[in-house]
């Protein structure tokens, strides 16, 4: 997967590139609007991360130029202003998602993966299996080591989210938004409680432990690395 990051704040650009590269993407970096425009028009990318405030040519114009010439690559735009106008404008111009600064890198990564997945045909499995955990998505049943586990609707939805996005770090805000439709940061530890309850059902009595806490970032579900 090849991404283009157009960002003129150099420290931020470097870290975003590094983070994305370490997450397994190939990343090109444009440090001003004109370069960004040129690269977006001439190369093929799977996704473009576009800052709105750029020197040379702002993100809106790059987006506009791309869409006008039929470049349909998904665009995630970054804005320092969270006004509704900005969001509406971006989405009207054909952006696919936005993030308001300050944001957490894990949030950016999660959004990037969501957008990339949206492009491909969504994997509509009926079953997901991770180690000895099995999810029957059609019947909304979970079993671990052959034992049926009783989950509430929300617990199942949470498990399904983690399982579908196996090995991705899901920030708490993304979980809150996807499972409970709460699209704002909460200063409670609601998500931690929900995860703890889920763990009690699917991990406590079993090995290996699948749900992992990534400190400061969120949760992920995967078979833990050996060692």
């Amino acid at each position: 997967m090849k991404l283009l990051v157009v960002e003129d704040e150099s420290k931020m650009a470097d870290y975003v590139r590094q983070g994305l590269m370490e997450a397994g993407f190939i990343v090109d970096l444009a440090r001003n609007g004109l370069d960004g425009h040129m690269m977006a028009m001439n190369e093929r990318y799977d996704l473009i991360i576009l800052d709105v405030m750029l020197s040379g040519m702002d993100g809106w114009r790059i987006l506009q130029a791309m869409r006008a010439s039929g470049v349909q690559v998904p665009v995630l735009f970054l804005t320092a202003r969270s006004s509704v106008d900005d969001r509406v404008r971006g989405l009207e111009l054909g952006a696919d998602d936005y993030l308001t600064k300050p944001f957490a890198f894990s949030e950016l990564l999660a959004r990037v993966r969501t957008l990339l997945r949206r492009g491909n045909a969504p994997t509509h499995h009926d079953r997901i299996q991770i180690a000895d955990l099995e999810l029957d998505l059609a019947r909304r049943r979970a079993t671990r080591a052959g034992r049926r586990i009783n989950l509430t609707n929300k617990e199942f939805a949470l498990l399904e989210l983690l399982a579908r996005r196996r090995s991705e770090v899901l920030p708490r805000s993304l979980i809150a938004s996807q499972i409970w439709d709460m699209n704002f940061a909460s200063d409670t530890n609601v998500i931690d409680v929900a995860i703890r309850r889920l763990r009690a059902k699917i991990d406590d009595d079993f090995e290996p432990k699948l749900i992992q806490t990534v400190r400061g970032m969120g949760y992920t579900l995967d078979i833990p690395d050996e060692g």
């Binding site: 509704v84 944001f103 957490a104 409970w180 704002f184 200063d187 409670t188 409680v193």
Partner: protein, 475 residues
Amino acid sequence: MRDRFTLFLRPASLALRVTTLVGIAMTVVFLVFNWISVRSLERHFAEMDQDELGVVSASVIRALGEVHSGADETALYHAVRGHHGVYYYVADAAGNTLYAAAGGPDLSRLVAHNDPVDLAGKREMTIWQEDGKFYRGTAVRVEGNAKGGGRTYVVAVAMNIGAHLAFLGSFRRMQWWAASIVMSIAILVAWLAVQWGHHPIRRTNAEIRKISSSKLDLRLNPADVPIELEELVASFNDMLARIEDGFVRLANFSADIAHELRTPVTNLTTQTEVALGQPRSAGEYREVLYSNLEELGRMSRMISDMLFLAQTENDRGNLRLTDVDLGELVKGVFEYFEAWAEDRRVSLQLLGLAGPVRADREMLLRALSNLVSNAIRHTPLDAAVTVKLVQDMSITTVTIENPGERIPAEVLPRLFNRFYRVDPSRQRKDAGAGLGLAIVKSIVEAHGGFVQVRSDDNSTIFTIVLPSPRGRDAV
């Protein structure tokens, strides 16, 4: 171009308006007055002339009698002594001229054109012009009686009214002159009056000029201005109060931000410096980074919250209004907090029903979620948070009640202030940045509602009051 355009569109000046109106009013008054006085003068002259002609015709008729009786053949010639500018004419029934005064108008024409009446003075008299002179006259038929020898005569009398007309003419001219002068004076006075009348406005303006951003506490005294300006001054003072309020809040806001950011920045700096002070294991570095990350996460949440607050307060038109089912919204909030509340052995219950309200769903959800999480946090073990919905014609009320300690009365009004925490010592771990209730307030107020809190020994109740859709329509 635009300047010229606005010049044309600009409303006429007050001085021009008042002066023009006074001018028009004066002109109308003068025209009416002029018409009435000229008309009454004309009527007066007409009556005078009529009287005189009546006397003349009577003398002529008497003279006719004398001629007929033979007493005085020449009586007709000096029948009208002493009347100047009066002419008469006598004819018999067949139309033969018996007498025509010399020098006057041709009265035979008057007789021919007007059917003579029986007695003078009982009809409108004719006015005509002849040889550049104006005459008023009439023709009378005199039926012969014993005195007149049974014959019928036609008598025409006329008088030169040139003097009257000349008088009327000079009267009119004089009136026009007088009117022009009086009107000029009146308009000048009106203009001066307007200037004088505007003096308080200019003075008020000078006072307003004195108000700079550092003197926003200045107010105009409504008692110092004429009564017409009192409301304007009051409105201006109100506006000033709002600006001052906003200004003060903005200043406080900046101070708050600086203050609130200082603590976490100090933490981060200290932590990082100490960590770098000596070589450590990778595990220890990781620990520091994690800790920094948590601190930064809090800062970033706080910044987002403050931006949200600033936006909600400054841009109230930005709501995406839809019909929101409050019951469904509260259930969603409960579902979210259920596990957390259960963990704290707090139960959640919803009472009452409400129809849909016009609201920004996302924002209202945020407000409710803040209040519910706040309530759960302050509820003792094994107690319940109760959300109650009540709707009537004009308002929809949501109350969020939790049992718990009394919040001191003096603290209650400050609860909705930014960064206010009841217990400053426990500001970090559990409670947020102290923006939750400020956000609730700004959201509810953006919806045209208000939020209240009351607290007694047993419980604390937050109340959100929103205008009901029907109530709002009626406004």
